[in-house]
Symmetry: D2
């Protein structure tokens, strides 16, 4: 029999639609199925170090299924192993606060800590378990869908929906104005959002980090569409996309050095397309909008299933593990196996081949092919 009586839960890293649904499911499953108390920890690991926590009961989670964000708060900072401690004299220094974190887990009486987070937060969780013996269960979160241990993560479908909606909007404008419209979406290391939104939103060109692109196939595609009476095109750009040969192809300009790259890589690409092809180009950076809003049904369900299964693992004492989606089943995988490896788009996968089969250009094509085949 499990002796787990109190379970802690925290959210770390950037927010994603569905975090609240995970929290709701953890609380519901713990309460309804196991009669276990849940303690919510504020602001990720920071709240653990600083001992900010409160019990969560069924009233606290009412209405959470439809709400984006996380009621616990989250932060990209607060790694207890390198904690930014502010000394009485006001100076900040990095200290190892993992001992404090462990003591606080004990003070809070937690028999297990459920860590909902991305690669960074899960890595901390893995060290908690391996080095400090804190019982941890992980729930993967990455809006980019680039965690290798799980087929999909919640938040991804909602981000794809927002990006697809934006493409639907840009489509009518592109068509009315005979323009090339760029949409920059999230995806620093992996092009999943760009690829899915490009397929769903009728993108003509999709640029992803996995495939360094040249401008020639893009221009060839635009020209082929023009010849066919379609003098407009939609380009989806993952924020991590980069030209083959590196950024020196952007001759003598520095737009990408702007404030926090608000203009993004798409500004440079837009400028280059205008210069090379004589097109009227407009770029839009979807940005943080992708992280927010009401989760789509799939994300609500996946997040709920993750939360339910994490509660079960916690209560059953399966520590050091992480929930993951494999096919249509939620499974448990070792935390140690889940971290540190990115899941990238395989340029030879079936989905990529499908995209090419209907004429989507990725920038590595032989331009003659593109001009033959449009699409």
């Amino acid at each position: 029999m499990s002796t787990v009586r109190r379970v802690g839960v925290l959210t770390g890293g950037g927010d994603a639609p569905g975090l609240n649904a995970v929290i709701r499911a953890v609380v519901r499953a713990c309460k309804v199925a196991y009669g276990v108390t849940v303690v919510g920890i504020s602001e990720g690991f920071t709240g653990l170090v600083e001992m900010r926590a409160r019990e969560l009961d069924l009233d606290d989670i009412s209405g959470l299924l439809v709400r984006g964000g996380t009621i616990l708060g989250t932060t990209n900072r607060g790694n207890p192993f390198r904690y930014a401690y502010r000394r009485p004299d006001g100076v900040e220094e990095l200290v190892d606060a993992s001992g404090t974190a462990k003591k606080n887990v004990e003070k809070l009486g937690l028999d297990c800590l459920i860590v909902i987070g991305g690669d960074g937060s899960l890595s901390i969780g893995e060290r908690f378990w391996r080095e400090l013996g804190i019982p941890v269960v992980g729930v993967p979160k990455t809006i980019d869908n680039d965690l290798s241990a799980t087929d999909y993560t919640f938040g991804f479908a909602t981000a794809v929906q927002s990006a697809t909606w934006a493409l639907d909007c840009l489509h009518t404008t592109a068509e009315s104005h005979h323009r090339v419209m760029l949409l920059e979406v999230m995806g620093r290391d992996a092009g999943w959002i760009a690829l899915h939104a490009g397929l769903a939103g009728g993108g003509d060109v999709v640029l992803i980090p996995e495939i360094p692109f040249r401008f020639e196939p893009l221009i060839a595609k635009f020209q082929a569409r023009e010849r066919r009476g379609r003098p407009f095109s939609l380009v989806v750009v993952a924020e991590g996309a980069a030209p083959a040969g590196g950024s020196q192809v952007f001759a003598g300009q520095d737009a990408i050095t702007g404030w926090k790259r608000l203009g993004g890589i798409s500004a440079s690409i837009a400028q280059e397309i205008e210069a090379r092809g004589g097109y009227e180009v407009r770029a839009t950076v979807l940005g943080h909008i992708q992280r927010g809003g009401t989760p789509v049904p799939n994300d609500r369900i996946l997040a709920s299933r993750f939360g339910i299964e994490a509660a079960r693992l916690a209560v059953e004492g399966s520590f050091g593990s992480m929930v993951a989606l494999r096919g249509d089943e939620i499974v448990a995988v070792p935390l140690a196996d889940a971290i540190g490896r990115l899941k990238k788009v395989d340029p030879q996968c079936q989905l990529m081949k499908a995209a090419r089969a209907i004429g989507i250009v990725f920038g590595d094509e032989n331009p003659e092919d593109a001009s033959d085949s449009e699409g």
Copy 2:
């Protein structure tokens, strides 16, 4: 080398969001990847018997990705093996028009016929191939997601989204008015839409055809929620749900005999809950709204992938097969294996267990449990 030069495509049965995306993908893939001509046949098999068809090129499919329905038209009638032929004297008689259909395939010069449809249309397609030697490739379509050969079908995610949106709407009304709100969704034989929407929309009770229900666990659930300060509940009812013991439990009333059961089973259930529990109950039948509207991104992608793969099978001469989703891959399965078997919700599957773990009631519970655990 394939000698396929002309491919026909038709849509049969009830419409589903994504049909147009399949058609678009078939045309795009045939044109862009294979240089093959596509002929669209109007109104399902009726159009084949009556020889209504036209070539489809890239201009015909412009803008189709976002449009519900099918530009080819569809019908639930028109089985060529039992064709309702109207004689010159005005009398209708059922005749075998499959020979005419075969001749028309030849007249149209079709090297393959892509049949997009549900179990009925695919069964006709299978007989075309097996009995008449017409080269057929199938694309599965069922909004209920109850075809056993494929993990998911397009249209299902859009229907779940519509049902979830409706639950979100009813939720605030239920809460404001302290009511039990019922939403009847599609699912004559399988409860997939009800189960997914119930999970995504925070349903308290989900009634599906696979699980005959009793009213006692429902009333116990409502009472448990009331005790917890939640004097309202959401009930999701699949149209095929039925009480254990059959409809005689509905004492002395006949509301379900109304015009085309517009009131649906939910009217009877609502009435019974009012009578037994003293609750204020309201029922809504979502109906055809579930079949329409812009497909969600997932359905656009799945439909596109089905269309692309069907085009490939057609061009490569893999006749008698059907595309299907298995995990994350599109595969080909024999048409003969795909038809005649429904995929039902397994009451013991992980998803069902997850639903029960967060307190969703299906009507087969021990009421004492429900009143203990709410949820």
Copy 3:
């Protein structure tokens, strides 16, 4: 100077998207602009009689702008002048509890009571002020938009959006299946939702309570569309629509007597169209979905403005008045003038003429005209 220090607020009647936005604005304006305390009364007038109330501060209204329903709860019952009092012996009797209500206003220390409600609630509010001297300020609420004293009410635009979305969904199904699709929307006495949704959703026929309809012009319209290659039509039916000559035109059937008329008038109309025209007809009753969901921006703004202005009137002591929209301004009107008069659709108004000009049929046309002119 005003001596108003505490303001009560309650919501009565059926819920409508935007109620929470009014409550939020009342609290915000009272706190931010006037430093006045707000007391929320639960469940409409029932809560006033039964003394269920609590103070509302800024934390209570966080996140309310996007939420449908009312956090205060509402009910169609609870008229203090005819209060259903349950005696100790369990028998219910109607008593005049208005004196209790008045005493409770005093016990709660309320200097003014803001009543958010429809004609029924506002009439009670008016009697409170006129007969009992309770200081009242009214905020009009009717999803049907049929209150004569204000140009528009919040909730109406959201209901029109839901109805229009449903029509967009039904449109693709009607077109794919060559059907006549009916959508029944709210509007017992006035056809505003039907008229607006019909215009916005491309309805071919719109049936409203203000215009008794005949079936001949409908059939003529369907036939005219058929001749033009459009063998499908969309019909929007207000729930209060009725045929000229009364319901005896529905020969020998009683579908409309079903449970709470779940099938609605549209079931009868659908049946009749099938019988007369040989069309395949499907009907959908949108029902309570129209009352729920996130309010559209216009409704959030209108509700906020109503709440802000009601707070101002309360604080300034302008009792016995109601806020109303006139043109683009919020004005105060006497409660006595606002109640008891419905705002109906004038068949000769510009909007109706516009609808007819683009070919929308209302059922009172000369069928020959309709068959000439399709549209």
Copy 4:
């Protein structure tokens, strides 16, 4: 009796949701109500000079109500009075092509030209009528809602809805991360979109061109919210907003000189807030997304009414006029009166006062007030 038999229609300037609905209504009203032929001219005035036009009938406008953009195409160029003519030697020169335009109106047999456009296109239309005697009827279009002659223009409500949706998305992220989130929306000269979206989306600060802002009241507002346990804020910025004292307040940086100001003014404002207040700030530029997508019901109705009324004015020979919304009526105003005057937000208007009453800060406040009153 009118002798108008052929009416031309063109769309000019930036696109806006509802353009297609106007075109549809013009064609429907001309065909159904008047039996008049409609000729669609491509690409605004360019198509008139270059004689690109085609007849539009009922089939051409099928499905247009839900589609953003314009099937006629549009452009910001092509003023016939200063036409960029490309000589045979390839050199472009500006010529007066208004005579060609007039001849083409005659060649096309147009008895009237309906010009759908913003201030620029309508000014050309007005000169056509006044200087050249071309019979013109105008339809106002500006997504910014800044045309003085009409209360509202179509497209505005859809833009507000997109901006509000974006704010809803950013809200949950701001709250989860304790950030200040900026959303830059359209509005070069007038702050209507920012004001409406700010009210509907719960903005804490709204910056509009009509009110030069200082940073002190902003920081005071953020601090007041922090003290109240709300360590996050939403800022809505119209693209034309500017600090009091001009851009030199942005000390020593040049982020706004990036490619086509993709980063927008919001990048500079974000940077300044970070520097002054120590907040984590993120900015999003909504951009062209606001111009696209399916029009909301209100815009579909307003656009339809404009189109219907423009058709009536054209057929009745009321040339030199423009349709406009006044209150709830569509009226005709002289084109000469409609152009050249912008409608700006009056800082003293009721809507602004309402915004201030619930605590929205515009940057011209006395910071002490803000810190007292939060809101």
